[in-house]
Symmetry: C2
């Protein structure tokens, strides 16, 4: 029996501040993280805030990735929500942690949805 | 002291199956939920899957809302992630629960990010 969804909550402290405030850098690494995990990208929406910070989501065929950054605190909150067994969300987490040069990552895994039998 | 972000994880069981499979219905109610909560909508991305199911995200100035539906199980996983004090994510949750005619909602609140002083 597996849960329908696997949801990783990433608390990314002590990140590189410049990267956190660069929307193109954040977008590229979020999409790269999704593809590296084996996901199929369906759409995305990213926004830069004034004076600082980036928010963005990548919708994948297997659910979504999201990120919100606070460069002033060298902090980002990221979520990697996947369903099915063909995607490995831990790989996406590793890509983000490395790209943001995060020195203090914390990862919580939450099982989402009802339990269903898997082949 | 407040956390940077407030993250509601909604497990929505026993929902109306037709609503869960209707991308326009899901999109309208996600955007309505965001606005009702006091959020500013910045972008969105929704997708319909075959044979069934909808995924979608609404990026708001105060973070994001996401939803993934499994009509075959009458189930949806929704997330409402907000920052700041001007948005009430519980109102967005109530809008979704009512719209989906969810008979068995479960809500978990997670504090995200570092603690910061508020005025």
């Amino acid at each position: 029996m597996n849960a329908l969804g696997k949801h990783l909550l990433l608390e990314l402290r002590d990140c590189n501040k410049e990267g956190l405030d660069d929307i193109d850098f954040i977008r590229i690494n979020m999409v790269t993280a999704a593809i590296a995990a084996g996901a199929t990208v369906m759409g995305e929406s990213f926004h830069k805030f004034s004076p600082q910070g980036v928010s963005g989501v990548v919708v994948i065929a297997e659910s979504h990735l999201s990120v919100h950054t606070w460069p002033e605190y060298a902090y980002a909150a990221a979520d990697i929500f996947t369903c099915g067994t063909s995607v490995n969300p831990r790989i996406a987490a590793d890509v983000l942690i490395e790209a943001l040069r995060c020195k203090s990552p914390n990862l919580t895994e939450v099982q989402r949805g009802i339990l269903v039998a898997v082949a």
